[in-house]
Amino acid sequence: MLNLGYCKGSMSTASSGGVSDQFPAGLRVLVVDDDPTCLVILEKMLRICLYEVTKCNRAEIALSLLRENRNGYDIVISDVHMPDMDGFKLLELIGLEMDLPVIMMSADDGKNVVMKGVTHGACDYLIKPIRIEALKNIWQHVVRKKKKNEWKDLEQSGSVEEGGDRQQKQSEDADYSSSANEGSWKNSKRRKDEEEEVDERDDTSTLKKPRVVWSVELHQQFVAAVNQLGIDKAVPKKILELMNVPGLTRENVASHLQKYRLYLRRLSGVSQHQSGMGNSFISTQEATYGSLSSLNGLDLQTLAAASQIPAQSLATLQAAGLGRSTAKPRMPMPIVDQRNLFSFENPKLRFGEGQQQHLNNGKQINLLHGIPTTMEPKQLANMHHSAQSLGSMNMQLNAHGDQSGSLLMQMSQQQSRGQILNEATSSQVPRLPSSIGQPIVNNALASGVLARNGLAESGRGTGFNPVSQSSSTMNFPLNTTAELTATSFALGSAPGVPSLTSKGMFPEEISSEIKGPGGFIMPSYDIFSDLQHHRSHDWELQNAGMTFNGSQQSNSLQSNVDVASSVLAHQGFSSSQSNGQGRNISAVGKPMFSAGDATDHVNAQSLGQPLNNFFAENLVRVKTERVPDASLQTTLFNEQFGQEDLMSALLKQQQQQQAGIGPAENEFDFDGYSLDNIPV
């Protein structure tokens, strides 16, 4: 149906089925570089490769060449640094207007720049000086793109009704087939996008109407309008009104908006994938957990095969988790890493690198895909309902600050129920790694709520030596002010629950309304429990009491400080060892459950620099070896950290409120209270 015209002209020999002998001779390459020396060398190299070369030294020229002859080129090679237009901008525009593969090149081999290229949609990144060997291979990008589009066409020719099921199935396949099959994963994603907008696309691809040339300025106006409206609320009519450009029609805007959305999704696809890779990187680093790490290899499929988890649950998991694009790359991630991500990866994700911020927009779109943006608690509960039997959820929601508190309460409640259900399911509770949301940086008042939940348990044998671990972390970066004063919430909890005896965990997160540029971190009250079954009820009551305490604590804190501060709550829980009733429960997690909560409180000027990362690690070790009968030791460790940087950044507000912050001597430090040795 859609012929994107890659096979026109000299490329026509390379038709869909096979590749001719001449191919890739005659590949039409557009080279853009402001450096004449490089340009001449590149041109020569490409000619020796028998490609058809067009060179230009300005990005604007390249763009107009491409616009004049949309089907005139197969691939673009562009320098990153150019005086008239940043190479990434060109890349973005090409990605937006024509679906051409673009290779970026630069003498700059910094990881950040390369990453930026990839996340902007470059199909390759070549480091100068370019060697001819690298250019001999570039045709593969053309073929890859072409194949992708063929697949897409194929998909579109099917009926839309069928498409839904098929797509679901294929995306599952993509999830399980291989750990890093970027191609298929992206393909399925692309297809999904295509299907959704198949009608519109057919309209726009015909190009019969007079086409508006989207200059850089016009596009920037457009992006500004979209950002102002919010990507999900941006409708062509409103964008048109905001842009206020004479001659521009609603249809023009609609078409451009649709391309822009596709583009954003493509980008977010890439970034998602990266995140997934990052996670697995962490996982290898954290392979110090002995037997646990050996369990990491288990994925849900395996578990399903072993009938450790009801098929129904698995299906629900797929529907709830995998069905959303956010969860895909992370499914195999072991739960052990949840905590580590929380303490290590998380700040980086949020503020570590400039490109992250750049991506935020795209990510947000993707993550919110299929999820209503302003989510009512009820809706959330509904969503949760589907996930609750899994005890694992992945949710990224975009809510207003004052809403998030109640939402999260719901979330955590749902979650704890899920956990219990899981335990009821079987004696060997599979680990259900959940996924981690991405940070959101919002321009205006909307706040991003990042939820990280990991619940997992793993059991071996019949539970006599169960080794289990579960962690649940929640993390809320909130941006509340227009000037991007970032406020982050980190709610962390990492309880360790020996699988057989424990009766669940109840992370309760209480978040408060944010006033001003403050970060407010609430502890989540995780309770490590090592209980016999019949004790659990009492214990729950205990838990409720503690949660109540906690919320009081935080409320008082809030009122004192008026939230012009960043408060870091930090908890470390160790698991416990107990010898009770003939059971040998060794909780591997003893040194493990030191949950490092990091909070970044970054003002706009320091945004992008990981300056204010606190990795506070507290390790609370609880040993319950003393009583064979079940006894609970719970330690809540609640600390607030202030740092000088932070202080100086917030000096003004703090001065006004120095008087009564917290129950401790230092305004940002107060000793946590700990509840020790609570017999249950």
Binding site: D35, D79, A107, P129, R131
Partner: protein, 170 residues
């Protein structure tokens, strides 16, 4: 006989450029690109490089004359210069460019986490500026030396005749 002597001289001169670290393998890439269509490709590219980079050198000189160094700008210029230099295989020039860019980054506070841009104290800043200036002198020296050497080399190549340029000992 004379021809053979010249050829040998070409080979020796060329080898010495590599041996003394003036050129790297990228230069061989250029030589490989030389064919019937462009029998003097290497020389053409080198000439183009020297013509174009003169502009960059001037820009950098001007930027370094300023009282307050704009390290971002300097880094940008040097990035371009480094890109061109690496494309022709000017090994020593490229190495000095890399050094220069490191100082630019230091001047920007990058790579020194305890120093922010504003926080770079007077001494460190002046120190960095001096290192930039000194490195740039070194760059210009290497750049000029290479130019002289290459010019001499191409002269011998031309004397030896076109056949020589088309087939380098691989």
């Amino acid at each position: 006989m004379e021809r053979t002597r010249l050829r040998r001289q070409v080979a020796l001169t060329r080898q010495s450029l590599f041996d003394q670290g003036f050129l790297d393998e990228q230069f061989i890439q250029l030589e490989d690109l030389q064919d019937d269509a462009n029998p003097n490709f290497v020389e053409e590219v080198v000439t183009l490089y020297y013509r174009d980079s003169a502009r960059l050198i001037t820009n950098i000189e001007k930027a370094l004359e300023k009282n307050s160094l704009d390290f971002n700008k300097l880094d940008g210029f040097m990035h371009q210069f480094k890109g061109s230099s690496s494309s022709i295989g000017a090994k020593k020039v490229k190495a000095e460019c890399t050094l220069f860019r490191e100082y630019c980054r230091a001047g920007n506070g990058e790579g020194l986490p305890h120093l922010s841009v504003q926080g770079l104290n007077g001494f460190a800043w002046i120190h960095t500026s001096c290192r930039c200036t000194r490195t740039f002198q070194q760059i210009k020296k290497e750049y000029a030396t290479l130019k002289r050497k290459l010019e001499a080399y191409f002269q011998v190549v031309r004397q030896a005749g076109p056949a020589e340029t088309a087939c380098w000992p691989k």
